[in-house]
């Protein structure tokens, strides 16, 4: 299971960093000009916001092309990829966000250790995921990722993420019962 295409990830994240650095240098170079500094700051924010949006659009487009011949009952967009479940055939497939060039199939009969993790730390969480073990490797399907701080365990976003993770686990178990 190849989650990351290093060159693809480097191109996106490296490109983002280089662009931000260039804008920063431009802003510092024109520090005396308020308009230029402001535009530079705006540009940095825009790059930071636009990069994940563009990456997700790219993922959606590529996944749709790759999965058009994979019959599935459920399509799941998670934080790190798009999953397709076909429990009737006891299989699933995934297009990873950092490797959107392959539709990687998963034989659900080979999967073990299926569980939902709510990432609880004290009274909140910053990450929720479903995990399973395939070929000795733990695969995490992130349904919620908070970049700063935590959300309370009763927050609707946390509960919805737990529901998604629970549904992924149930799909996997349903696929395993077919065999």
């Amino acid at each position: 299971m190849k989650k990351t295409d290093v060159r693809y990830a480097a191109a996106w994240y490296g490109g983002e960093v280089l662009l931000i650095l260039a804008l920063l240098v431009f802003g510092v170079w024109n520090a005396k000009n308020g308009l230029m500094s402001g535009l530079s700051a705006l540009g940095i924010v825009a790059v930071g916001v636009a990069t994940p949006i563009l990456m997700n659009k790219q993922l959606d487009k590529k996944a749709a092309e790759l999965a058009k011949n994979f019959p599935h009952k459920l399509r799941f967009t998670t934080h790190n990829g798009i999953f397709y479940f076909d429990p009737a055939q006891s299989r699933a497939a995934v297009v990873w966000k950092l490797n959107p060039f392959e539709l990687q199939t998963i034989d659900l009969a080979q999967v073990t250790g299926v569980r939902t993790c709510d990432g609880r730390q004290f009274r909140g969480t910053s990450r929720v995921w479903a995990e399973f073990v395939l070929d000795g490797k733990k695969i995490k399907v992130t349904t919620l990722q908070v970049s700063r701080g935590q959300l309370g365990m009763k927050d609707p976003r946390v509960l919805e993420a737990i529901s998604k993770a629970d549904q992924i686990c149930e799909m996997i178990r349903a696929g395993q019962r077919v065999r």
């Binding site: 009274r123 309370g152 009763k154 609707p156 509960l159 919805e160 737990i162 529901s163 629970d166 549904q167």
Partner: protein, 124 residues
């Protein structure tokens, strides 16, 4: 801290699930009448849909209890509501996602009684 805030403000921030809506005609608070009916919806997780009476009439399937809700599928409670001031009757459909015993409110529809009343007659 979160629990203290919830204790102090919880009453003010009462969830929409149990709060009767305002009458669309005179804006008074309506009262919910009768027992709510439970239905399964053709919506999953936080999927949103343009909610209309036609959508509910077309897609709702009656169920008898929360235990019949599959993981990740939205359900709704449907009530009749009456305005104590002007007498207008309304139907309230409150969608929710059941997550390990917790109900997460999703969409809500308030419409004239006659548009959704056929739902109340639907048997399982």
């Amino acid at each position: 801290m979160l629990e203290l805030l919830d204790y102090l403000l919880g009453g003010l921030l009462q969830k929409e699930l149990v709060k009767p809506p305002h009458c669309k005609a005179c804006h008074a608070r309506t009262t919910l009448t009768g027992k709510p009916r439970l239905f399964l919806l053709p919506l999953w997780q936080d999927q949103a849909e343009d909610l209309s009476a036609e959508f509910y009439l077309r897609g709702c399937r009656p169920i008898s209890g929360l235990e019949q809700i599959p993981t990740g599928q939205q359900a709704c409670r449907v009530w009749a509501a009456e305005c104590p001031r002007c007498g207008e009757r309304w139907m309230v459909a409150q969608n929710f996602l059941l997550v390990r015993g917790e109900e997460v409110p999703e969409g809500r529809l308030i419409c004239p009684y006659r548009e959704l009343s056929p739902l109340l007659a639907r048997m399982e």
